[in-house]
């Protein structure tokens, strides 16, 4: 999850001059400065050998390109070095603990990468004759079977491309179901601890968002939900386990109240990884839930995607699943792509995307599921919860928890009370973690907690790894309390960059490379 303005300082401290003398190159040993492609590439260089076609009569009419494109190229060795050097400026789960709460940065098995590159998976076209892609349809069917069994739901819509797209799919199904009943409900209840995607999704399709207040411990107040129910309420969007890392104990009561009011229960499945094999959302009364395959089932985050967000649906919503979907027939699964192919009772609300969804992610997720099996999936949930509680136990005497020390699920939430009087902010604390070799936790989210720090270690971390992480955070807390302000305010000191001026970036946005003015180039050459 990202940062937000809740308790977050808006002005960055200026750095003291570095004690490290500059090198000629600006490089710092393995930290090598790398210019932009547009500064090192040349227009007449290419890293791909292609033969010029023989003369032919073009069929471009009057639309042949007249303008140059301005796309510099690099040879293959230059390309390799350019992007390898850039890669070395990134933190990654393969190099260290990545405790971003709500983001689930777990190990990405390379078997899954190999499976995604099988020729019959990676090299098949979405519009080949269906007779030539039977294995692809069977793979989607098998993935569906696993998702349905794990959630206890009726069906699954596979095509959404990411979590937020899955939310949109689920809410569109709800909107279609309401319309099919001849109703016009326009209010969606969203707890204040929700991910920003929830209210954004509801608003996108014309719902009015009404915020549900949280109880002091961050869970949803059942009485508050009941008080807000009316014939205008279409749905509630609830994250469970919630963004404070707590299981919503009253979820069944909330679901019953929602259903009694004629509304639907959308569950944000971002935190499904805590309860796989432990509870089935279908039995909790959920009507729709997206599953982030890139969180729970470990498809790589890739620096911001691609994700995949299949949506499991209850019997009340199954008929509204968008095209395409898989129908199980006597002689095997069938991919239903068009309205012409529908049978009675199938009333899709439309289509979410051009093709069938993120097949490349489906195969990775299925590979992960097959590897774990039912026993391993349950163990993974248990270890994820064990690890979060172990971190909690290791820090509970030094760091403050917003609702006191209590058992959490897969992530543990701290607030900034323990930093009171030190002059160190949550942001400073996070940046100091960078110098210690860690990616920071999620900061300033959820919004219901001041200076929030949400830590999700995942099941991938060993006890030794967690012990060192805990010891590091304990040391930082002690240093903050001892008044070592500069250590925090100057952090990070050892990263490829010091703190970046985000205000400047937003005030006069520079969103692409621009050729410098000639006088600038001349001055630089001197």
């Amino acid at each position: 999850m990202s940062m937000n303005s809740q308790g977050r300082p808006t002005v960055a401290a200026t750095a003291a001059t570095s004690a490290i003398p500059d090198t000629f190159t600006g490089n710092r040993a393995l930290q090598i400065e790398e210019a932009l492609l547009f500064e090192v590439g040349r227009h007449d260089v290419t890293g791909v050998d292609l033969d010029e076609p023989a003369d032919f009569a073009p069929r471009l009419g009057k639309l042949a390109r007249k303008l140059p494109i301005d796309l510099p190229g690099l040879s293959e060795p230059e390309t390799m070095r350019h992007y390898v050097r850039l890669s070395q400026k990134n933190y990654s789960i393969d190099s260290g603990l990545y405790p971003l709460g709500s983001c689930t940065m777990k190990h990405n098995p390379r078997l899954n990468e190999r499976m995604a590159r099988l020729p019959g998976i990676g090299d098949v076209h979405p519009l080949q004759p269906l007779s030539t892609v039977k294995g692809a349809v069977e793979l989607m069917t098998e993935l569906s079977r696993w998702l349905i069994e794990m959630t206890g739901m009726t069906s699954v819509a596979l095509s959404p491309k990411a979590g937020a797209h899955g939310e949109l799919c689920g809410m569109m199904a709800i909107k279609a179901a309401i319309a099919a009943k001849g109703e016009t409900r326009n209010i969606v209840l969203v707890p204040e601890s929700a991910h920003g995607t929830n209210p954004a999704t509801a608003a996108l399709i014309g719902f009015k968002v009404v915020t549900v207040p949280a109880r002091p411990d961050g869970t949803v107040d059942v009485a508050a939900v009941k008080a807000l129910l009316s014939p205008d309420v279409a749905a509630i969007m609830l994250t469970n386990p919630n963004t404070c890392g707590l299981f919503e104990r009253d979820v069944v009561e909330i679901a019953a109240a929602i259903h009694a009011a004629g509304a639907y229960f959308y569950c944000d499945g971002a935190n499904f990884n805590a309860i796989v094999g432990k509870a089935k959302v279908g039995e909790l009364g959920v009507d729709a839930m997206h599953i982030n395959l890139h969180k729970t089932f470990s498809t790589p985050h890739g620096g911001g995607g691609p994700g995949a967000g299949p949506v499991v649906l209850s019997a009340r919503l199954a008929a509204f699943a968008p095209l395409p979907f898989i129908r199980i027939e006597a002689d095997g699964p069938v991919l239903v792509e068009t309205e012409e192919a529908l049978r009675p009772g199938e009333t899709p609300f439309g289509r979410m995307t051009a093709f069938h969804g993120q097949m490349g992610m489906f195969v990775r997720a299925l590979s992960y599921m097959l590897s774990h099996g039912s026993d391993g999936l349950q163990q993974a949930s248990e270890d994820a919860v064990l690890n979060a509680n172990y971190v909690r136990a290791g820090l509970r005497d030094l760091m403050s928890q917003p609702s006191g020390d209590r058992t959490c699920m897969h992530e543990v939430l701290f607030d900034d009370t323990f930093l009171e009087g030190t002059g160190v902010t949550t942001l400073d604390f996070a940046k100091a973690m960078i110098d210690e070799g860690y990616h920071p936790m999620t900061m300033y989210f959820p919004l219901v907690v001041h200076g929030a720090m949400l830590i999700e270690p995942t099941e991938s971390e060993s006890k030794a790894s967690l012990d060192l992480f805990i010891a590091t955070l304990r040391d930082l807390v002690m240093k903050a309390k001892a008044g070592e302000l500069e250590r925090f305010q100057q952090a990070p000191r050892f990263a490829p960059r010091r703190r970046l001026d985000e205000t400047r970036a937003a005030r006069s946005p520079k969103l692409k490379w621009e050729k410098p003015e000639p006088w600038v180039e001349a001055a630089a050459a001197e």
Binding site: L36, I69, Y91, D123, M352, A354, L377, A495, R499
Partner: protein, 447 residues
């Protein structure tokens, strides 16, 4: 289980440290009667077993590289250099999150800045974002953006727009309270879209090359749209075409969206792909999606950050420009690397090869008795009329080991006047032998 580091001894020690007797104590918040005890699914499997299972499924499919292959209509078989696949599998790119901590994600951020610049240059636009899910979702986001900018809510969709893109827009728009006017399918590329534009139009959505392959002159459409205060959204599904044809930005487009799969990305049965999104600088604050911007660090060194996030859902919640969060970072990386390898010289040549191959194939196919070409202009994909049902013929050709294209009926079912039309794409991967095999097989099945 090989992915889980703890031994049972570790687990016991950790439970003791936490101060609970068993793992169940940590799940105490889940009501007892709702706890699951075992899933009806297979047990854990080793690497070899998983490879066998998925290998068996893979083997049931016909891979594009294994046959003469001419299927397009929004996704294209291109050669991706080996360097691309190596680089995108580097741990630091593959297993990194969205770059929220810029000090330790300059790699991803600089790539996104390069990507945005490449897209802006290719499309002839001023700014581009850091990617969308795919071309179809980029298109619906562009329509929503146009509605915000014009404060109108009627989109006019060309009959040359990919029918699935049209369906995505038509699915969302009524739910958002907006109106869509979709023109009839335009297999000949002759529709009069100007007549559909009026003072209530928010935006006109035109694909070029169209789904039927025609190159569309966007300038008169832009002029008419601007005359009535509407915006032109230009769409493409084959980004390689921009190496050879006038960019939409030079033809007056206000928003340009498209599918970037062709560069750097595998077919993967439809995803993951990479949506491209570019517009004018003055519209940037209404753009959806992530934007990477240049700034300096505390020592004055150039660096990059995600910026203008006050547009986004995590700040603005129900007032955000879009609900998008995760996008297509790794696919954008693959695009950027492949485009860097090509450079201007390589892209232009690649585009010429594609065009030349398609021209040769169109000439050979239309020379067959009963087969006619519907296009005056095209890039690497065109429409032919066959003497019979195109879907049937495609199945017959598949049985002969040629994947011949996409029958229009697959995209526009139930329209008998389109049933004999076939979309055929030819790229650099096709050899003379591939084309000869296609022509010979079609001649046989028509005989």
């Amino acid at each position: 289980m090989r992915y889980l580091p703890h031994s049972d001894t570790d687990r016991q020690a950790m439970l003791a440290q936490i101060g609970v007797g068993s793992i169940d104590d940590l799940f105490a918040d889940i009501p007892r009667d709702l706890r699951v005890h075992g899933l009806d699914l297979p047990k854990a499997a080793g690497e070899m077993s998983v490879e066998r299972t998925l290998g068996r499924l893979s083997a049931q499919n016909v891979a594009a590289s294994s046959v003469p292959f001419f299927v397009g209509a929004g996704a294209y078989k291109h050669h991706v250099p080996a360097t691309v696949d190596h680089l995108i599998q580097r741990s630091e790119f593959l297993t990194s999150y969205t770059p929220y901590q810029p000090e330790i994600t300059q790699g991803t951020l600089q790539v996104l800045f390069e990507f945005q610049t490449q897209i802006a240059h290719l499309t002839g636009m001023e700014v581009a974002n850091a990617s969308m899910y795919d071309g179809s979702t980029a298109t619906v986001e562009a329509v929503l953006m146009a509605h915000r900018l014009t404060k109108r809510n009627k989109a006019v969709l060309s009959g040359g727009l990919h029918p699935h893109y049209r369906a995505v827009v038509e699915s969302l728009s009524p739910m958002a309270g907006d109106t869509v006017t979709s023109l009839p399918a335009d297999p000949r590329g002759t529709e009069d879209i100007l007549a559909a534009i009026d003072a209530t139009t928010s935006c006109v959505v035109v694909q070029s090359p169209s789904v039927y392959g025609h190159l569309i002159d966007l300038a008169p459409i832009a002029a008419k749209a601007h005359e009535v205060g509407a915006l032109l959204i230009a769409v493409f599904t084959e980004v390689v075409s921009l190496g050879l044809i006038e960019p939409p930005g030079a033809q007056g487009a206000d928003i340009v969206v498209g599918e970037g799969q062709s560069i750097g990305n595998a077919l993967s049965f439809g995803g993951p792909y990479v949506g491209l999104f570019a517009t004018r600088q003055k519209f940037v604050r209404q753009m959806p999606g992530r934007l990477c911007g240049e700034t300096v660090d505390a020592e004055g060194r150039r660096g990059f950050v995600l910026t203008l996030s006050t547009r986004e859902q995590h700040i603005r919640r129900d007032k955000a420009t879009s609900n998008i969060c995760t996008n297509s970072g790794l696919c954008a990386l693959a695009f950027t690397i492949h485009m860097t390898l090509l450079g201007e010289t390589g892209l232009a040549r690649l585009a010429r090869i594609n065009h030349a191959n398609a021209v040769k194939l169109a000439e050979s196919l239309s020379a067959l008795k009963g087969v006619s070409l519907l296009n005056d202009s095209f890039f690497n994909e065109f429409t032919i009329r066959l003497p019979g049902d195109a879907a049937d013929l495609v199945e017959k050709l598949a049985a002969k080991g040629v994947l011949a294209g996409v029958p229009v009926s697959r995209l526009e079912p139930g329209k008998s006047e389109l049933a004999d039309l076939l979309l055929v794409a030819s790229t650099e991967v096709n050899t003379d032998e591939d084309r000869a095999a296609f022509v010979a097989a079609l001649a046989e099945v028509l005989a």
